[in-house]
Every structure is written in structure tokens, then in C-alpha cells.
């Protein structure tokens, strides 16, 4: 499939549904594979999307995950209805977490979510209002020249 125009699709994510957690990121990965995006880029988008999806499942009530693909970039927006993040700077620190035992038993909640998104994305923007929700937006550039150097592993 060739990308002549931009493409967009949305997925719903339900909070506390651990069984389905990962489905939206899986769909995103399948779409990118179908389009024929470079496998390294697919892996970065998929990992960042999965972490964002797990954050919704663990903390929020519900969210929409929207992927927008153009010739230049892939943009993912995860807009949730949930408790919000009290201190974004703190939440960005590796190891900082407010996760419960149940979340940790799923192999998540170790304070790696947002740092993992940052590690894989070229740009990350987080907006949050306590008691209302959080909007996580990240971009992965498709044009080599637009990328800010190599990303750390």
C-alpha cells in the first residue's frame, strides 16, 4: 500500500480491562505493517503506543487512541478520562510510580511508562488536569532529516 494522503484511525481503550490491554497498540502495529513502514519505526511506535495504552488501562476510565499517518510523521494522541497526573515532571522520572500490586503483577507499573514513550518518540507532549484526564501526544518522524539524531535504545 502506498501512502499518498494522510490516514487517520481511532481506537477505544477501556480502563481496568487488563485482558484486552494491548489490542489498540496491536492494531496500530498491524496498520503500519500494512502500509509498509520501516520495521524500526514500527517497533518504536508500537512500544510507545502500548505503554500509553497500559497507562489508560491501569489508571483511567476510558480513552481514545488516534493515529495519524502522513508522509512526514506518525502522530499518536491518547486522550483519557481519568484522575490526571499530579506532577508530570515526577511521572517522567524512571522508577517513579503510583501503581497498585495488581498493576505490578501484570508486569507494568514500575515507573517506566512515560519514560519509555519519551525514549521511542521524537516529540512528546503531555497535558493533564487532575480529576479530569490526561492527553498524551507523541510524534515519530518519518523523514530521516527531521529526526533529532539517533534515539537511545
Amino acid at each position: 500500500m502506498r501512502m499518498d494522503k494522510s490516514y487517520s484511525q481511532s481506537f477505544e481503550i477501556t480502563g481496568n480491562n487488563f485482558f484486552d490491554a494491548g489490542k489498540a497498540a496491536t492494531e496500530v502495529k498491524m496498520i503500519l505493517k500494512q502500509i509498509g513502514i520501516n520495521s524500526d519505526i514500527i517497533r518504536r511506535v508500537a512500544i510507545a503506543s502500548y505503554e500509553a495504552e497500559m497507562n489508560v488501562v491501569m489508571y483511567a476510565k476510558r480513552a481514545s487512541m488516534t493515529i495519524e499517518i502522513s508522509q512526514e510523521k506518525i502522530k499518536i494522541v491518547v486522550d483519557d478520562e481519568g484522575p490526571g497526573i499530579q506532577n508530570i515532571e515526577l511521572a517522567m522520572k524512571e522508577g517513579y510510580s503510583t501503581a497498585t500490586t495488581e498493576m505490578r503483577e501484570m508486569g507494568f507499573g514500575a515507573g517506566m511508562g512515560l519514560p519509555n514513550i519519551k525514549r521511542n518518540a521524537d516529540h512528546l507532549k503531555i497535558e493533564s488536569e487532575v480529576g479530569k484526564g490526561t492527553k498524551v501526544e507523541f510524534v515519530i518522524e518519518l523523514k530521516e532529516s527531521a529526526r533529532g539524531g539517533s534515539k537511545e535504545r
Binding site: 497498540a25 502495529k29 501484570m106 508486569g107 507494568f108 517506566m112 511508562g113 535504545r153
Partner: protein, 124 residues
């Protein structure tokens, strides 16, 4: 190293993916923490883990892990096996602990996906 060789070294039971045992495994990683797997793994790796749930399979699929070995005789339920079949990810089980299984594979020269960054920096 092939998955079949790993299966023999770790005395594995194969839960699914019997037809994929000739696949090549380039790297190894061991963790119960899926965020660490997402952060530090590479495509083409085998994952050794004690975490037996659907998140293990989703993580393997997302991070392009070639195969998963559950340690200490842990067995996946039918939902987990069905998901792994759907994603074409072979699932194996070993009687060895995470530490022992990792050691056995490490001794054969299977490279880790999780490089020890601080030691590497100290040594230049």
C-alpha cells in the same frame, strides 16, 4: 542458535509453535517486568520470564520477541496459548529457574539484549 537448540538445552516443553522451532534466536533477555522488556529488548530475541499472562504475549508481539520461555514449570492457560498462536509466537516452558535458564543460555554465548550501560561506560 535455533529455538530447537534452546529447547533442548533448557529441557523445554513446547506449548505452541512446534512448527517454528527451526527459527534463529540472536539475543536473550530475562525479565518479569514487561516495561523493561519494551525498553531494552531487540527484535529477534528470546524472552525468559516468570510472568505468565496475556501481557507477556502482547509485549512479545509489540517488541518483536521471537519466542517466550516460561520458567519454573509455569504453564500458560488456554487463552494465553490461543493469543500466542494468533501472533505466531512460540511458547515453551522450562523446569529451570529464571537465573538458571539465563545462565545456561548465557554460557553458550547467546548475547543479552539488555546491555549493562554503566559498566560499558566505566570501561570506556
Amino acid at each position: 542458535m535455533t529455538l530447537n537448540e534452546i529447547s533442548k538445552l533448557l529441557s523445554c516443553e513446547v506449548f505452541c509453535g512446534e512448527d517454528q522451532l527451526n527459527m534463529d534466536i540472536e539475543f536473550g533477555c530475562a525479565s518479569d517486568l514487561m516495561s523493561d522488556v519494551l525498553a531494552f529488548s531487540r527484535s529477534g530475541a528470546i524472552l525468559l520470564t516468570g510472568l505468565v499472562n496475556t501481557q507477556t504475549i502482547h509485549t512479545a508481539f509489540i517488541a518483536e520477541i521471537n519466542a517466550v520461555v516460561f520458567v519454573r514449570r509455569k504453564k500458560p492457560d488456554k487463552d494465553i496459548v490461543a493469543l500466542a498462536r494468533e501472533k505466531h509466537i512460540p511458547l515453551l516452558g522450562t523446569p529451570y529457574s529464571l537465573y538458571e535458564a539465563s545462565g545456561i543460555l548465557y554460557k553458550t554465548g547467546l548475547i543479552s539484549t539488555m546491555e549493562c550501560i554503566s559498566v560499558k561506560n566505566e570501561n570506556g
